[in-house]
Symmetry: D2
Subunit: 137 residues, 4 copies
């Protein structure tokens, strides 16, 4: 992963309730971290996930792939780093990796494919694409 490609990073700390009986962060919670990082990035570009929903457009995840490399534990500090690519006309792919802050150890690799729907039907999300990929036609 070329460090320079990341366009967004967000710091977190593991909260104890996110850990399960194995003493490590439960697998599902990584999806929560990834979602929060995506929404933070979108908001930084003026794209308000909640406001879009209220206007009838939903940004949704259509596919997720996560490779779990190493577990996080109680109070570990970590960072979610992301970059994006378009896939076809209507999908936006978030590549999101998590690193432990103490030693930069890779925790997970994730590929999250998203789309936009209006009233349940896929749409081309003009505003979203314009703000996320300003240089592209």
């Amino acid at each position: 992963m070329d460090e320079k490609r990341y366009i967004h990073s967000l710091d977190f700390i593991v909260r104890d309730y996110e850990c399960d009986v194995q003493g490590v962060v439960n697998n599902a919670n990584y999806q929560h971290f990834l979602e929060h990082a995506r929404h933070d990035y979108l908001l930084s570009k003026g794209i308000d996930f909640i406001k879009l929903h209220e206007e009838g457009t939903d940004l949704i995840v259509v596919r997720i792939e996560i490779d779990y490399k190493f577990p996080l534990r109680s109070m570990d500090k970590f960072v979610v780093k992301s970059f994006i690519e378009r896939e076809g006309n209507i999908k936006v792919v978030f590549y999101q990796d998590i690193y432990r802050k103490a030693d930069n150890k890779l925790i997970i690799n994730a590929k999250v494919t998203t789309a936009a729907v209006k009233n349940g039907r896929p749409i081309y999300p003009d505003m979203v694409v314009e703000r996320l990929f300003p240089q592209q036609p």
Copy 2:
């Protein structure tokens, strides 16, 4: 998906706290449903996830792939159906699909690759494999 291949199914109902602002089950919660179905299946085969942990062996997820096909909503009844395959010597793959009960609509397809570790190192989980794949050498 060949219906006859499923070897385990478990019924659920969507709880309101599992839904988010979009009015649908939050993506991460599907991982919770899949995990609970896997642990229920393991337990039916005499494999106690928690007890194994206390004995030093952890069954872990090393990769997950989920295709989100259609969202579940408040109080929807659904079923998680699973079958398993071995991958190489030490991995067990769970294929897990979720269907809405009312109309058998496919909600997600998932492929969950698991392994066993002892003191952080991969091991061949004899007992687990013997109980999950009794006919195989």
Copy 3:
């Protein structure tokens, strides 16, 4: 607690992801169980929490008190039993207790005080009160 006063009960099983590093159900998750039991009860009376929200009325919790008596563990079966009382003109109080099924052991006692708001202001929820307390004026 007089057994006969309960007007609703709902069965659950502990899912492993609901347990934390201490090996027991995390305290916050009991609120989830209580909420799901309340919504199940309301629905049985024709009161749809989500539909009410969409129509502008929100049923909300204004106060919760929980006494934690004994912890639940992985795969424990348990039941949430509830009864209700009115408090003043506009509040409905849910008394909710959780028992472990295996031995009827008391797990928690809870008192959940709820109210209804419309556009952020408290209202008298006619329909809700009529359906929950049909004999009362």
Copy 4:
């Protein structure tokens, strides 16, 4: 609430997955925020919740009371402020309040009564009390 009594504060931001269909933070999640603030405070005093568990001592919540005053919404910044008191010989009470950062609006008041148990029996947690109440005999 006398501002000067607070001995610990911790900043958070609402993550979208913490909100439910009503568009506000789900009630149970406030318990998560309170727990994380308590564990952060304990850790600042050299009391490691997880390590204590591994050594056989569990700090547990025996009672919680929460008054929900006003809801938090997506991306709201908020602070959990806490102070502590002893109750009898063996209980430690955390008074924890949440304020929205933008306008210092009170969101919840909470009183969380905790105790220590070893092998399921209540104990006097010397080390914990000494570190939390150093001036007291």
